[in-house]
Symmetry: C2
Subunit: 190 residues, 2 copies
């Protein structure tokens, strides 16, 4: 077990689209434009944004992440869910069965999805080599300590190990603000 520190990424609300939904929202044959590479290899924030419309309110300008996926998924904070007026469950990315849907509005069209809205459960991406160093395996649950005046210990943190992953913890905006996390924050598995 190492005491190596882990960088933290605070994920703002974002959407992953299927190719089919991308074409409805932005036009037939449309392809996403890379705005900024993310820390996970091959993943990027696209230039494109959409509006996410709930029963009660709208989240405007929600960033699309690329590349396209097999299922459309929208990751919001609990704060966002109140604005939408939709009950959004805490889930691991990809686990969208029995979640609420919403309307998605793009510049060329709109889509109503039956499911796909989640609050993403906090997790740590690790390369296989990092996992060996930390002595953990894929799907382990660990505790993570954040130092500072808003210091806290996150319990129930999922470890995700893959040879394509770069070492980084992901939390949402509520969690980032609650723990006083900034772009320079590094955390520790305890």
């Amino acid at each position: 077990m190492t005491n190596k520190k882990i960088p933290v990424g605070v994920s703002n609300r974002h959407i992953h689209l299927t190719k089919e939904h991308l074409h409805i929202l932005f036009g037939e044959g449309y392809e996403l434009n890379v705005w900024k590479d993310l820390s996970q290899p091959g993943q990027y924030a696209a230039e494109e944004k959409v509006d996410v419309v709930g029963n009660k309110g709208t989240l405007s300008g929600v960033r699309v992440l690329g590349p396209v996926r097999n299922e459309t998924q929208i990751e919001v904070s609990i704060t966002d869910s109140f604005k939408l007026g939709v009950k959004v469950p805490l889930r691991n990315s990809g686990d969208i069965a029995n979640t609420a849907g919403c309307k998605i509005v793009g510049p060329k069209g709109e889509v109503t999805i039956e499911k796909g809205l989640i609050v993403a459960a906090r997790h740590i991406h690790m390369h296989t080599k990092d996992a060996a160093e930390f002595g953990v395996s894929d799907k382990d649950i660990v505790k993570v300590k954040v130092e500072g005046e808003r210091g806290l210990i996150f319990e129930n943190v999922l470890v995700r190990v893959n040879e394509q992953f770069a070492l980084e913890m992901h939390v949402d905006v509520d969690e980032g603000n609650a723990a006083g996390i900034t772009k320079d924050t590094k955390v520790e598995i305890i």
Copy 2:
């Protein structure tokens, strides 16, 4: 030391006004109207709301809490501070030296304050009898465990003891959402 559970109140953004500022914002001689009593004896949410205007954005309809105080103080979340475009420090209530100010707009007038914007540090109100039961004193710093799928341990939690206080932990909206706190959540000092 007891293992007694502590109820949690999630504080949304709010403002405490001086009598002078109340009169400028709502009119000479104006008095606050009680909308809802708070758990701390004598404290209440008023019917009145104001707009808080920062460099970049406005928080509309910020609830006034009563009764009036000796200094005007606005408590926001870090999420709110980004919307305002103002750097707001983490402080204990009442400690507003060297904090940022903003404009406050009411139905009858407006005030620009030079200081008063804080993110309130999490804390536990306790009656003297509770403090004895928990084995803690005023100004102690404790750790608090929140159970649940978003379970975590808050460090640096200030204990405030007074014969006028009712037992309750206060966190802000970012903290409440990060920990999955609802109105039924009870927490434990560890």
